[in-house]
Amino acid sequence: MGHRSAGWLLALLPAGLFAGFLRFTPAIEAGRTVTERFAWAPSLGVNVALRLDGFALLFCLLITGIGALVVIYAGAYFTEYSASERARFHALILFFMTAMLGAVLADDLIVLFLFWEATSVISFLLIGFDGASPSARRSALMSLRVTAGGGLALLAAILGLGVTLGSYSMTEVIARAPELARSPWAVPIVAGLLVGAFTKSAQFPFHFWLPNAMQAPTPASAYLHSATMVKLGIYLLARFETVIAGVPLGRDTLISVAMATMLVGAYQALRAENYKSVLAYSTVASLGILVMLVGLDGPMASVATVGFLLAHALYKATLFFCAGTVLHATGLSKLRLMGGLGRFLPVTALASLLASLSMAGLPPFLGFISKEFLFEAQIQSSWNAIPVAIAVLVNAVLVGVAGVVTLRPFFMGRDRVREVKHREVLGLLVGPMTLALLGLLISLQPDWISRAVLRPAVASIYGQPVDVTVALWHGVSPLILLSAAVVGVGALIFVYWRPIHRRLRTESPLDHYEAEHAYDALLRGIEAAARRTAGYVRRNDLRGQQWIIMASAGAFVLWGLLAAGVIPRARFGLSGVRFGPAVVSIVGLAGGVAAARARSLLAAMVATGLAGLVVALTFMMNGAPDLALTQFAVESLVVVLLTAALLTLPIAAPPTRAPRARRLDAMLATGLSVVIFVALIDVSAAPQRTEISAFFGARSYVEAFGRNVVNVILVDFRGFDTLGETTVIALSAVIAWSLLGPRMPREARFLADSRTGPFILVMATPLFYWLLLALSLVVLLRGHNEIGGGFVGGLTAALAFAIVALAHGVGIAREKLRLHPLMLAGGGLLIATASGVPGLVVYGDFLRHVWFEADVLGVHIKQGTTLLFDLGVYLAVLGTVLAFLFGLTREAER
């Protein structure tokens, strides 16, 4: 199958969806809504709730219908791109379509938000499709920052709605709009909604990203900026109209912003030079019209919103398609260089003409009807004449634009272009011709579509059925006079386009106030602030850096204590002090002090180990034998491993800090100690919360069949955490293995291993080796009910190998292991992960352990997948420690 047919084939998906949505029209026409829901995060009140009503159906039909045409068009458009780039484009477009459908079908606001942000991210990828071009990257980032930033405001508003009304259902929120209006949070919530919608729909002052987004390949522009992405903001505003109207100045804000957007869009459309820029700014103006229509009150406003939404989607997508075909054919982007293209691209010229007539609002096109709706809505609304005047002016500019983008490139200036690179092919024509003809057919045969799509769409945003009469001739009324005025002024603008354009292109004082400058300035400011902050907190010296971290950590704890108003609730009194344990702990502290003061690294290491052993004893004496065993094993292993590493390093470590710096450090350390001490004293005097411990204590045996509560928490209740920690440990084995020296050839290893340890150690090694291995297995096996578990077991087994390595050298230890330590670590991780699979199969929950009972030869056996999990942990820990051991010795012997 050739590349050329890919577009046609892929278009089957959106076309099929289009047909699927058409099947819902009878239900929607009858006034029903179609809903689907399934639980997603029920504990958070978030459900995947989908809802199809008239307004959503209109969007779905536009998204899938135009989507299918865009896919066909893109298949023919990307002739100069490689197959993988075309594939990327098609995948992105289809992803984008999915995100759009999700956004307009979602009834749950959290789900809506997720799809909303997905459209921002995917449009970022589409606008920056040509990633090698710096301007494409800049535009893509700009649109992402503006629209996703606005998305954050929307998220805040949605969370506010959820907190205020206790529901994330859009239907419910809209139904309870009056209740929301009485809440003190109504204004911030509406402000968040507005910022989200304004950024997405390119309203002033956030409009600047849209013209920049013309860096996208034209098929993407045709999709994003006619029917989909930018209309999402309009969708949101239309849905939440009652909520917005409920707060003071809600409608006024909509209409004022809309008027500013219309004027800016019209002004910039007159100034723009590029074909696509002219279209982009006219889109900004059209989006302003749509926002104004949402802001107006009265049933006609809803009718006009739906009518203009449809008309604009049809003609704007067509015009973008035509612009794409022209760019594709000529490689030119500036309008003034084009002319006479009707000779080479006759069908495209025809489509462009039809779409322009609709855009200009001439009868008998759909654009005419939608413009009549617009003026009728304005007259019926309670607003004064200012929006009417602005609408007449802006519509007149749109008439001029419509004339310019069709007549100039296709029909005027025949001598400007003498030849084209590509002619039109069927794939480039299906889209524009279909949409352009629809703009004519709908207005000539309006019955079905207004009954099945438009009327339900209006009803779902207005809240009650409105009689929508789509008719071309309303008789002589003020409306027709306004239309005539628009066409008259528009014709003048078209005729005097060159002088107006030249005049407006000269430097204007308004340029300084462009929102894009503010955007750039904001970015520069953020960058400078980040630099300054880094200058304060970054030191080129490890000690300085640590100082900042430690001191601020201490300051935060102190601040927390003071802010909480803590007066240490010390229950002093040495009555509970037992003499023996107290002496032992003081010895541990002495070890710590000795480590801090030691001049020799070896002494520091031994002293650190002493402190560790004392802490292990403390665990032992206070009911934590599991911790004690683990700590003992770790301390022994640290000594073995660090000794191996230190052998190659200079043992003497002269002071690296000046006496004054040392005093300063000692002061910081003492200060932190005091803060910790005070906090600990306070904590131990505070009443203890025991709900969680009581929960585990009560459920461990009954539900998880284990008597060692610590082990049950690790392998069962918090099994996922433990799996994550085991992964970290196994990964550290990979890191150590790759950090430490190259592998030695087998021969050399035996030579290097010829040394042997002291005689007694060598003699006792087999005994210790087997004893420790057996012990480790016992610890592993009975861990669920007695002291022990995978971690301790793995460490104990590692000790067995460490003893062999000490006595006979590491080569013999490796011989005994036979396996690669990383194999062991990875295998352990695999087993631990696999132990969660039976639970997934049986209960549908990963890592929910499965237990089975059986009588084998008269012996009753009850075992669970917990043992498998612990075995995985055991092997992962063993493999990791052995990777450390072998790696460090190997590196030291180099």
Binding site: L141, A595, D626, A645, I681, A698, V709, E725
Partner: protein, 127 residues
């Protein structure tokens, strides 16, 4: 007794901090190891010392009787092993650093600084 343990934990913490502030990287590593131990002890003390009875459910009983709080123990157990892995990885890094630079002083290991400012203007700068 808590007072004594609190004093020891806080003291070990201070010793760890003092060592971490050193410029000798092996001392920093040992200090970090000491700091981990001290923090584990702090965590343990936050679970209170009220009994010497390990959190094991007795034979014949279905729920945990009077014993030490099991939750901090479950947290500390993995923390000990992770802290151990961290110490060894750092030791391996120190070894490599010594091989590459012939020094264990953090202020003399500055290969990255000599490369200059990664944010210096001049490179392609996307906004």
């Amino acid at each position: 007794m808590s007072v004594v343990y609190a004093f020891v934990a806080a003291g070990l913490f201070g010793c760890g901090v003092y060592m971490v502030l050193s410029r000798h990287i092996v001392r920093v590593i040992l200090g970090l190891s000491l700091l981990t131990t001290a923090v584990n002890l702090v965590l343990f003390l936050a679970g209170r010392i009220r009994s010497a009875q390990p959190p094991l459910i007795r034979e014949g009983s279905e729920r945990l009787g009077e014993s030490v709080d099991p939750v901090p123990q479950a947290l500390i157990l993995t923390a000990i092993v992770i802290g151990f892995a961290l110490t060894v990885i750092l030791a391996a890094l120190a070894l490599r650093a010594y091989r590459a630079h012939g020094t264990l002083r953090s202020d003399e290991i500055n290969a990255a600084q000599t490369l200059g400012d990664p944010f210096a203007p001049g490179e392609a700068d996307d906004r």
